[in-house]
């Protein structure tokens, strides 16, 4: 049964990808959708002799980059959450609760509104800073308790939110409006240009975590046990934190703050398949990607105007977070 679920989750993104491509306010029948893809790949069609330029535009330039970006961002946030939880041995951490999202959002907003450096790089620098401060503030004698890490994450998030507020009151009101909407987390400005801008960062982050994922299992045992098994815990901790930060900050830089995806997905998977990170990393990517693509499908079809996707993920994730807090004992990572 577990194997069946595993296979289902692995193929889920492909199914969601095609369903998402077929759903939207501009109607493109399924046969036309297949023909457009075939036409683009081979120059031939099966069902229709003529295709409308508008349908091609909607499918290939509007819907496809959005669906692809949704899948990639969802996968990145979930993988980032899984890696953070394993490295920090804490089931409650993820980019949002660590203060990383707020740090990255501040960095990205700073790059958008004030300084002229690439958004992704600025977001990564401030995301790294926020994770570093959260982790160091919560560590004492080499140990980090579950709750103190979450609390230091809250404090760091507050500091970056305050800095973001300073930025907000000092920019043009019209620019501010756009910034606030972006902060809520949205995929509505997705384009090929955005996708290509963020893809290298996502590939690098994901590749590092994927190829070294078995070491996450050793790090999960704690620093002393990891050291006795011949793994340099500090080196790999730094590597995983860096890669997870890169994934999450790249995601935030294009979509704004999409919260709690990195918390829900890894936890669900751990309940189903146990704590083995070699399985959890690819599964997190697939389920995270599918989850965000489904949420985006709802957000872009529910009303006549766009609803920021971050609102939905927060509504869905918040009860889950409360459930996890109540379930988790102080210092518990079992």
């Amino acid at each position: 049964m577990r194997e069946f679920f595993k296979k289902l989750i692995l193929i889920f993104p492909i199914v969601i990808f095609f369903v998402s491509l077929g759903v939207g306010s501009y109607s493109i029948p399924f046969d036309q959708m297949i023909d457009i893809i075939l036409y683009k790949l081979s120059g031939y069609t099966i069902f229709n002799e003529q295709l409308s330029a508008q349908s091609i535009n909607v499918l290939l330039n509007i819907r496809l980059p959005r669906v692809a970006l949704g899948l990639l961002v969802g996968g990145a946030l979930a993988v980032s959450g899984t890696a953070f939880q394993a490295v920090m041995r804490n089931p409650l951490v993820e980019p949002y609760t660590l203060g990383l999202s707020s740090g990255a959002a501040f960095g990205a907003a700073l790059a958008m509104a004030v300084v002229t450096i690439p958004v992704q790089i600025c977001a990564f620098v401030f995301a790294g800073l926020s994770v570093g401060i959260s982790y160091l503030a919560a560590s004492k004698h080499g140990e980090t308790s579950v709750i103190s890490l979450v609390l230091s994450g809250v404090v760091v998030a507050s500091v970056f939110t305050a800095m973001l507020s300073i930025l907000q009151i000092s920019i043009d009101p019209l620019q501010l409006q756009g910034l606030i909407y972006w902060l809520m987390g949205s995929l509505h400005t997705a384009s090929w240009a955005k996708l290509l801008a963020v893809l290298p960062y996502l590939i690098v982050g994901y590749t590092i975590i994927y190829f070294f994922r078995w070491k996450l299992n050793i790090l999960s045992l704690g620093e002393k046990d990891a050291g006795s098994l011949g793994v340099n815990p500090q080196k790999y901790k730094l590597l995983f934190i860096g890669a997870a930060t890169l994934l999450a900050s790249a995601a935030v830089s294009v979509t704004g703050i999409i919260s709690l995806v990195g918390l829900m997905i890894p936890h669900m998977l751990r309940m189903l398949f146990g704590p083995d990170n070699t399985k959890l990393i690819p599964l997190s990517f697939c389920l995270g990607a599918s989850y965000l693509a489904i949420v985006d499908m709802i957000s872009r079809n529910l009303l006549t105007y766009e609803i920021p996707i971050g609102i939905f993920t927060t509504f869905l994730g918040a009860p889950y977070f409360i459930f996890l807090i109540r379930k988790t004992r102080e210092g518990g990572w079992n």
Binding site: S25, L174, H188, Y305
Partner: protein, 353 residues
């Protein structure tokens, strides 16, 4: 005998001294009274002070000293109205934005020397500054409810303004005319604007309904921040003879879905004057490639936030600009530059550089 005479002289000297001291005391008292006036407390209403009652955009009746000689105006469009009304010298403080926005400052400094020299105080959220000025009235956006409450609690008269449509623009002008004692000028400006607008509407009325072009009004900051129905963006399209392609959306300002834009396929796009976007941004975007507006290069940007100001009667120029852009043949006789200069001269009495 000598002793007796000496005593008599001494007595007389004392008497004279006493009389002189009395006279001097009386003189001092007189000067004291002469130097005094009846005391009044600054800011206290005198019996002779006339007042006027106005109903502001909140629906609240406000009684203000008439004419208000000390006006704090915290909205740029209100400040422009006061300039148009000729009540420049009655304004004692303005909003910070007028100083920080390059374009707004550039024009305001040509109207008001105090703005040019930065001697007219700007208020940036500091309520104490306003209280210290003891103004007759504070003109502020009606949406700033918290600020209004604080001011009113301190006994300051506040007129809340909201301008969601062009009717509100005239209401605002009328309110400011009443409190500044420039009612006649307010009526003159309203009459002039409506006459100019009629010239456009007369021509628009002759355009066949089937030939009316569909349009979208872009508020920005992104390409998809549009105006739904019941908005100034919607009104401006209608007045210029177009029809809002997004009129099914009830929101005043909403973020549209790109797929809906493809479905609407508008003939033209009208952009508010935006910092980070221009028509070329649409022409270069592949997602907009098959939209009629971009295919036919029919994306127009309102050229300047000052003279296209949609929150004052200058909106009339925006209507003319858009009508001329959409229907160049119908409005071939409309010299848009001349019309703009005449309007600004009439409203401000200034030849702007």
């Amino acid at each position: 005998m000598t002793i007796f005479l000496y005593k008599k002289q001494e007595k007389r000297r004392k008497k004279v001294k006493r009389i002189v001291s009395l006279i001097l005391m009386l003189a001092m008292l007189c000067t004291l009274f002469a130097g005094c006036n009846k005391a009044t407390v600054a800011g206290e209403k005198t019996e002779a002070q006339k007042t006027v009652k106005v109903v502001d955009s909140r629906g609240v009746e406000v009684e203000v000293n008439y004419p208000a000689k000390k006006i704090v105006c915290l909205l740029n469009s209100g400040l422009n109205d006061l300039y148009m009304l000729g009540a420049k010298d009655q304004v004692i403080a303005i909003d910070q934005w007028t100083y920080t926005n390059e374009s707004a400052y550039g024009f305001a400094s040509q109207i008001d020397e105090r703005v040019k020299n930065k001697t007219l105080p700007a208020i940036d959220k500091n309520i104490e500054d306003i209280v210290g000025m003891n103004p007759d009235v504070v003109v502020i956006w009606a949406g700033q409810e918290e600020d209004i409450k604080v001011l009113e609690d301190k006994g300051i008269k506040v007129v809340g303004i909201q301008a969601d449509n062009f009717e509100d623009v005239y209401t605002k002008l009328d309110i400011l005319g009443k409190i500044s004692g420039k009612e006649d000028r307010a009526a003159e400006i309203a009459k002039y604007s409506k006459e100019q607008l009629k010239k456009v509407s007369d021509k628009v009325a002759k355009i066949d309904a089937s030939k009316k072009l569909s349009s979208l009004f872009v508020w920005g900051p992104t390409k998809l921040d549009l105006a739904g129905n019941n908005s100034t963006g919607d009104s401006i399209i209608e007045m210029a003879g177009g029809k809002n392609a997004a009129d099914a959306v009830g929101e005043e300002h909403f973020v549209a879905k790109m797929e809906d834009v493809v479905t609407w396929n508008p003939d033209s796009l009208i952009m508010w004057n935006l910092k980070d976007l221009d028509p070329q941004s649409y022409y270069d975007d592949e997602q907009w490639a098959n939209i009629k507006a971009t295919e036919n290069k029919q994306v127009f940007e309102l050229p300047n936030a000052f003279y296209c100001d949609l929150w004052t009667v200058k909106y009339v120029y925006s209507v003319e600009f858009l009508a001329k852009s959409l229907y160049p043949e119908t409005f071939s006789d409309l010299d848009i530059e001349k019309s703009k200069n005449e309007m600004l001269k009439f409203l401000y009495g200034v030849d702007f550089k």
